[in-house]
Amino acid sequence: MTAGPIAVAVAVFALAVGAFPIAPSQVLSILGAGIGLVAPEAIDAQQAAVLWSIRVPRVLLGAAVGAGLAVAGALMQGLFRNPIADPGLIGVTSGAALAAAFVIVLGAVFPGKLVRELGNYLLPFAAFFGGALAALIVKHVATRDGVTSVFTMLLAGIAISALASAGIGLLAYIATDTQLRLLTFWTLGSLGSANWSVVAIVGFTISIALILSVRLAAPLNALALGEFEAKHLGVDVQRMKNIVLLVALAAVGVSVAFCGMIGFIGLVAPHCVRLLCGPDHRMLLPASALLGGTLLVAADLVARTVVAPAELPIGILTALLGVPFFVVLLRRQHGQTTSG
């Protein structure tokens, strides 16, 4: 079990490196001063400001969002018993994207008071509600007589996503050049919105989601045998479906709302864990959280340093860094097992 130390090493490295030069010893002093171990006179105020108000929140946000997306992906794959399931399948991502596009392009239609009250939070709130609404519609379409059909939900998710794409297309058509460009950047994702309030909101939501997911591990293992089998093993399948959807909705919704669309992590982090440690959800869920968080923090480290003083959208990097990793694992596993 080397995963823990690797995750810690990535986090420390991500704190030590950035566009703004801060010597590693200074990083330690500043962090020490933060918890009262080092006298505040020994540190440079500006370096401390950069570390505390920019870099630390960013690393924490990356860890939370990466963990949330990866666990949501693992839950979806378990629920749909389908290896290509990703957190976007239940419509959260596309619903959030449509709402974000609406705010970016038609932000002027919102009442001035609402815009003033919410400020920078208008887009995240709208995106979260858009994502939640889309997921609830998908769930509603797929539920009859109190039973949710996973198969119908899959198709309803695709239908709602297509509808949202049409809406985004229409908004893109009436958008100005600048709005289009903002929309493009939003769909590529960024952790640039990180500040302490965002970390608090996202961290709180995703922590709750992770805690709830622990109790889903055993039922999901039973579900792998089939819905009827799970029922006969004593699992309340409908209740489990409701909780899985709620957890995925919360984790993905809050991530997309504040960071835009960050692809790949939710799909591939759980698969990497399955290839390394097997499909038992009791291991899969926490390990996916750890790997997802680590991958996203690493990707963001590259995103904010490789073209400094500018920064690359993180969606480009999650795929660029994660895909080779995934392909190597697939090749190594090829022939050894038939599970996937």
Partner: protein, 312 residues
């Protein structure tokens, strides 16, 4: 590289200074004074092509340490570090340049990055992104005050006012009001400029009529609507002509060849930032556009020009 070296030097200086504090108290006082002086040497990051041009026009380019991706003029600006796209600034990336002042338009963002920059004590001078001569004057005032060169600012403003007045007099004396269609890009249907765009403002300043109106921003134009708009002159950017592969390719787009401009091959191209930037070259650009769109000789394009000509 040089920049980074100098940061490291400074840190080394600070650390060394700390180590000597107990032994050389008096010396530290001197070093500290030096530190204050070097911290106050202005370091300006300009986020906006027109703002960067104004900094150069004022002769304040020594203070400039970085620009955004829209700062394409003058050539010297291309050699400075780039902080990326104005709406996607990275707070830490910008701070790493140790700026004392950020010149920005209202387009700069995202808001969180600007807040973080303000929170660390960097001054941000923001101007509107409106396309008008008055806004250009305002930008000159703001930038000149911010870089501490109000006299140069007043001189530049006076010159700009005189130049635009001269251009306006020339334009007012012209009998013709050509219908101009501005084409932004050529992927699929031509994207043309409606109300409120920089191109629309330029066409009006040059005494022309925007061939398409009644909608805001840039929109794709169908072939039939292009013929209906029937422009006398097609205006585009040098970059646009290069992207599509020449004037012939442009005119072979559905509809464009059948307009009055297309039949007479009256296609004008000007460098994008020069034409649409609303920077200190505005009077010159207005004058050039006004002349070229009325001159049957120069308006018949044969080759794509690569750089704007100096003042006529």
């Amino acid at each position: 590289m040089n920049l980074r070296d100098s940061y490291d030097d400074r840190f080394r200086g600070v650390r060394k200074g700390r180590r000597m504090r107990f032994a050389f108290g008096a010396l530290i006082f001197g070093l500290a004074l030096l530190g204050v002086a070097s911290a106050q040497a202005p370091r300006v990051v300009s986020v906006g092509g027109s703002l960067t041009e104004i900094v150069y026009a004022l002769g304040a380019e020594k203070q400039l340490v970085a620009v955004d991706t829209t700062s394409l003029y003058p050539d010297a600006a291309l050699k400075l570090p780039k902080v990326g796209y104005a709406r996607q600034l990275s707070a830490e990336g910008v701070l790493a340049l140790r700026p004392t002042l950020i010149l920005a338009t209202s387009e700069a963002g995202p808001p969180n990055a600007l807040e973080q920059l303000r929170a660390t004590g960097v001054k941000i001078e923001s101007t509107s992104a409106e396309h008008s001569f008055d806004e250009l004057r305002n930008k000159v005032k703001v930038v000149a005050a911010a870089v501490g060169m109000p006299d140069a600012g007043r001189a530049l403003e006076t010159k700009l006012v005189a130049d635009i007045a001269e251009a306006s007099r020339w334009i007012a004396a012209q009998p013709s009001r050509p219908r101009v269609l501005f084409i932004l890009s050529h992927s699929g249907a031509a994207q043309v400029s409606g109300d409120g765009t920089a191109a629309d403002a330029m066409i009006k300043l040059a005494g022309g009529v925007n061939a398409v109106s009644g909608f805001k921003g840039y929109k794709p134009l169908t072939a039939e609507a292009a013929i209906g708009a029937n422009p006398d002159v097609i205006l585009t950017t040098t970059q646009g002509v290069a992207a599509i592969g020449g004037i012939d390719k442009l005119l072979s787009q559905p509809g464009l060849g059948l307009t009055a401009a297309g039949k007479a091959r009256r296609v004008l191209d000007m460098e994008a930032l020069y034409l649409l930037g609303f920077g200190p070259r505005l009077p010159q650009a207005v004058r050039e556009l006004a002349k070229r769109m009325r001159d049957p000789q120069t308006a018949v394009a044969t080759t794509a020009r690569t750089s704007p000509s100096p003042a006529p």
